[in-house]
């Protein structure tokens, strides 16, 4: 599974290799340049058999979904997927638009102004709404998966563990959903076959991120204290003091509280309703 930047650069002579952007579990992302335009080249670490080989299902779904959803708040696929010999093995690659802003985790040091948090909220809800309309649940909304475009708009990346309502599940129904626990909705911790996973799951993730932005990185449920963490998560008992300390306006706090309810039926039923509420913040 190992893959180096020099192997990628060697396999793509048509691009000027700028730098490595990230090295994840499944993919390596590199910043490349072509005709003066910067792009992101993503290469799957797993090898496939032969140039006509079937793409791994999860990757195929991810790329198809990103191509299908037309939303400025969701990362845009420019080209691919393709298969090429990289580092001595056949691997899948695709090209994404490059967003020059840093990832959200780099910006969570101090409390954001209310209008900036509201703009983040609206941008992320717009992304989740586009996914909802396509029958997709992202399931991994976290700071590392949010970048910012030239105008400062948030852009959601990485549909790698998304759930597709109209496709058969590729995860074990008698186990919990894939997730990044710190930003995961309570239903993602439960056995897949016993809970509802839909856009309301993503609303919870948006709520956590915007709470962190509004409070300067305070998590609404304090996962660093694991005792009773699930209880706090399920009951929707947020760190209300943090919102007060950061002087978060009541209207914005009200929307965040609603997004962070433990039971999906107590969040907004439709993303559109959350978006409308956020417009009044």
């Amino acid at each position: 599974m190992s893959l180096t930047c020099s192997e990628i650069a060697e396999a793509f002579p048509e691009y000027y290799f700028v730098k490595e952007l990230g090295d994840g579990t499944f993919k390596v992302a590199c910043l490349v340049e072509e005709n003066g335009e910067q792009k992101v080249l993503k290469v799957s670490k797993a090898s496939v058999k032969g140039p006509d080989a079937n793409l791994p299902e999860r990757l195929r779904r991810e790329i198809e979904a990103m191509k299908q959803v037309d939303c400025e708040n969701i990362a845009q696929v420019l080209d691919g997927p393709g298969v090429r010999e990289i580092g001595g093995e056949e691997r899948v690659f695709y090209i994404e638009r490059f967003y020059p802003g840093e990832t959200l985790d780099k910006r969570l040091g101090s409390p954001w102004a209310a209008e900036d948090t509201s703009a983040l909220l609206r941008g992320l809800l717009t992304a989740v709404k586009a996914l909802e309309e396509a029958g997709i649940v992202h399931r991994d909304i976290k700071p590392e998966n949010i970048v910012f475009d030239e105008d400062g708009k948030p852009v959601l990346l990485d549909l790698g563990i998304a759930y597709y309502k109209d496709l058969s599940s590729i995860t074990e129904p008698f186990g919990p959903s894939p997730k990044t626990p710190r930003w995961a909705a309570p239903e993602l911790f439960a056995m897949r076959s016993t809970v509802v996973i839909d856009s309301r799951t993503d609303l919870f993730g948006v709520g956590v991120l915007c709470f962190e932005a509004a409070t300067g990185g305070v998590h609404p449920f304090n996962p660093d204290d694991p005792e009773h963490y699930m209880e706090r998560l399920n009951s929707g008992k947020i760190d209300a003091e943090a919102l007060k300390d950061a002087s978060v306006p009541e209207s914005l706090a009200g929307v965040l509280v609603r997004l962070l309810q433990g039971a999906p039926n107590r969040r907004f039923r439709k993303v559109d309703a959350a978006l409308k509420a956020s417009e009044a913040c």
Partner: protein, 386 residues
């Protein structure tokens, strides 16, 4: 716009038209199990300015021994209804419901369903499948109300209700038609377990206020005012006791019981008193005007309680209840509605005690029922923070 709906059954005479003419009617729930198509068509045509919906009543076939006298004529008989139905069979039921609505000229639809003994058994999945299929077949051209006919004990545990809500609120419907099967009740007026009623109010609040569905409650009675306060947009009751509390017995063959004793609903006491004895004494008491604001009613009960017929009782009950339900709905916000109902309940409770102290021999169940309502409402407000 009125919020009181009539739960239609057989023997309607002119009761619906009278409410309609008085501007007290918000809508009509037609009963194809009880009446042939021409009768339902006539009802629909006689109330052109209010919403008319057809409760398909397919739940009859999930009740042991359940039968529906007029279902065949509507193409709605589903004697083979069972929890193992194939998708094609469910779709056939849905199409039969759509056809029955079309024949009557009813635009918006109540989805077929079954009685849910609990909120997580095999019947639940069939009920959800019927709802999903209806939404899918109908598309966006007509409004769809999902039916939820739930046995009262299923409301005992809030966690079960909340888990059901997580699934139900994923349905892309316009509204819910909620009926509680008062399975353990046989006498009128039926008592409530306060925690079950609290959970019902929370269910209505979640559907209507948090999830923005329109909620209609069927086979309701005085508790309808609590349901309206919790967020329901309509509450339906009928002229017979069996149309004010849903029970399996209505749909099972019987040799007929003894005739009901006429009651006179007191708006001021929020209680249906026995016309002879209770109503009679109250109509002669110093609280008569508060208990029965209508002078004609006071006079009739005070002077000739034996002449208070079942027909009169049925019409009077509906008219009085409609007035209270509509008044509560017009309060606007949920807290304002809740305040209004709490005020009415407190006043009614105080009057009952006063009258008891003055020697009117009420059934102890009346006061207990009001206390149950007050407790359920207080618990609901505390739990939902409204």
């Amino acid at each position: 716009m009125a919020s009181f709906w009539v739960q239609q059954g057989y023997g309607k005479s002119d009761k619906i038209e009278r409410l309609y003419d008085a501007g007290l009617l918000g809508g009509v729930l037609l009963s194809p199990a009880d009446e042939e198509p021409p009768a339902l068509q006539a009802t629909r045509e006689s109330t052109p300015d209010v919403e008319v919906l057809l409760d398909p009543q397919t739940y009859v076939y999930s009740i042991p021994g359940g039968t529906a006298r007029c279902h065949e004529a509507h193409g709605l008989a589903v004697p083979n209804l069972n929890w193992g139905m194939a998708a094609s069979e469910v779709e056939a039921v849905v199409k039969a419901v759509i056809d029955a609505n079309d024949r009557l000229g009813v635009t918006n639809l109540i989805a077929p369903t079954v009685v849910q003994r609990s909120l997580n058994d095999v019947w639940t999945s069939l009920a959800l499948q019927m709802a999903r299929t209806t939404i899918s077949v109908v598309g966006e051209q007509r409004r769809v109300y999902v039916s939820a006919v739930i046995e009262e004990p299923a409301l005992a545990n809030w966690e079960d209700v909340a888990n059901w809500l997580d699934i139900a609120t994923g349905l892309d419907a316009d509204g819910f038609y909620v009926v509680v099967d008062r399975v353990t009740q046989s006498s009128y007026p039926a008592m409530w377990n306060p925690s079950h009623l609290t959970n019902l109010l929370r269910l209505i609040y979640s559907l209507s206020q948090l999830n923005e569905y329109e909620v209609l409650t069927g086979y309701s009675d005085i508790e309808g005012i609590l349901q309206i306060a919790a967020g329901a947009s309509g509450s339906a009751a009928g002229w017979f006791y069996s149309l004010r509390a849903f029970s399996d017995g209505k749909w099972q063959p019987s040799s007929g019981g003894r005739q009901a004793t006429p009651r006179a609903f007191s708006v001021g006491l929020l209680t249906p008193l026995l016309a002879v004895g209770e109503g009679e004494q109250v109509a002669r008491s110093e609280l008569a005007e508060e208990a029965y604001p209508d002078e004609d009613v006071r006079t009739a009960l005070a002077n000739n309680p034996d002449g208070w017929s079942l027909v009169t009782a049925g019409s009077h009950h509906l008219g009085s209840l409609a007035t209270v339900v509509n008044d509560v709905a017009q309060q606007g916000s949920i807290p304002a509605r809740l305040d209004a109902v709490e005020g009415r309940l407190a006043d009614a409770h105080g009057r009952l005690i006063t009258l008891e102290q003055q020697g009117v021999p009420f059934s102890g169940a009346y006061r207990q029922r009001l206390e149950t309502f007050r407790r359920a409402l207080a618990d609901f407000r505390a739990l939902e923070g409204v």
